[in-house]
Symmetry: C2
DNA sequence: CTCGTATCGTACCGTACGGTACGGTTCTGT
DNA sequence: ACAGAACCGTACCGTACGGTACGATACGAG
């Protein structure tokens, strides 16, 4: 599996960044080969030489963007309840931040728009390059919490997906649809707090009154 | 607010159904005016006369589809815990069934693909015509349960969104992305059961202890 | 200095789409 | 029966896009 590092030259990376910019600004319709060549001061011939065809360009954009968002791994410090809780809240915040980001939304819209085409692998590529890192990080975090006896679950994937649902709810789709008033990063913190709170209600291990009486 | 009933002639409805068929089968690229005219045995001129332009056609398709899915309202029988639970499970099942349906996925993909265009109202239209009915039904259901003392919440919208997240998790986006192996209707029942179970853990009222009252 | 390579800018080609126009046909009301 | 409207099928137009070709330019290797 790929090492999350694109093997493109700096020039090519700059072009891919321009392409992402066009995509974010104007959607798929704005991302034409001629437009990209003009915006990036390169020739269409170079685009086709580097990326093969338009689909190759789109795939390269996803790979390039994924290579920039390095999934940081949480250090293995000693986990008490408070630290674990903080890590979960951080994860939830990061997740909302990522999903609500301009580039993420634009790439997801692109991949979803292409999903009907049978020969398009953009969706799988997006999940493989983008989601799996997040999943790994969350899985490790949950596993660490379970081993310390802070939470309990039968199926880690099920617990993770529940956690994901508690955090994201229907926000992702509504942001993808462009609904007004949904993208409000100032609310992410509160959403993350509440999701973690609910996650602990579902999967937390009662320590007989050891539950930190945090303010909510 | 519209009455969830499209004011189109049967002929026009048949054309809109053909259009939905083309969209489901081949995505947005397959839905061309010429293609639709050929498939529906009508003239392009009629299409433009009836729907104005392509965007009008797309909007009409959404309205037409929404008019077919009538949000049935649950009868007001006496609610005991078992009945209430059954209604919640039914709602969860219906929700998964709807979101995973061919037409719903195709229309959502279409609206999401257009979401970048500033002048596109498809996303808002889809939410307005499709989601609001579901939201109303769920809201009424939750409110009935609360008034019977079966569940407790401070904010109904928050409780509903949590319920939604527990049911759908990340399934909707992954289905939209076309990930293989995600659309498995045979799993919906188990997912619905588990979501309702978790929902009761979070918001259910124990007959003995009346705790679990959360603010926020 | 010179050759080769990579790249740029532009021009070009074929295609496909949105939208319009028009002659011929069917349907409807009187 | 007849007039008018609605509609079909097709042809047509302008545009825009993906992809290719080509001459011009910059630059490193020998």
């Amino acid at each position: 599996m790929p090492e999350m590092q694109d093997d493109y030259t700096p020039r090519q990376r700059a072009v891919l960044d321009k392409a992402l910019g066009l995509l974010v600004e104007g959607g798929e319709r704005a991302l034409t080969t001629a437009g990209l060549a003009r915006a990036a001061n390169c020739s269409k011939e170079s685009l086709y030489k580097w990326f093969g065809d338009r689909d190759g360009l789109l795939a390269a954009m996803i790979a390039h963007q994924a290579s920039k968002v390095r999934a940081r791994i949480d250090g293995g410090e000693k986990l008490d309840h408070g630290r674990f809780r903080t890590h979960l809240v951080d994860f939830a915040n990061d997740l909302l931040q990522v999903l609500g980001g301009d580039v993420s939304l634009a790439l997801n819209r692109l991949a979803i728009g292409q999903a009907s085409r049978e020969d398009s692998r953009l969706g799988a590529l997006l999940i493989e390059r983008g989601r799996h890192g997040i999943d790994k990080r969350a899985g490790a975090l949950l596993e660490a919490g379970r081993q310390r006896g802070l939470i309990a679950y039968g199926d880690r994937d099920a617990a993770y997906h529940t956690f994901y649902g508690l955090i994201v709810r229907d926000l992702h789709v509504r942001m993808l649809l462009g609904e007004a008033g949904v993208r409000q990063p100032e609310n992410y913190a509160a959403l993350a707090e509440e999701a973690v709170e609910q996650f602990f209600v579902l999967f937390g291990v009662r320590k007989e009154e050891t539950t930190g009486r945090d303010r909510v």
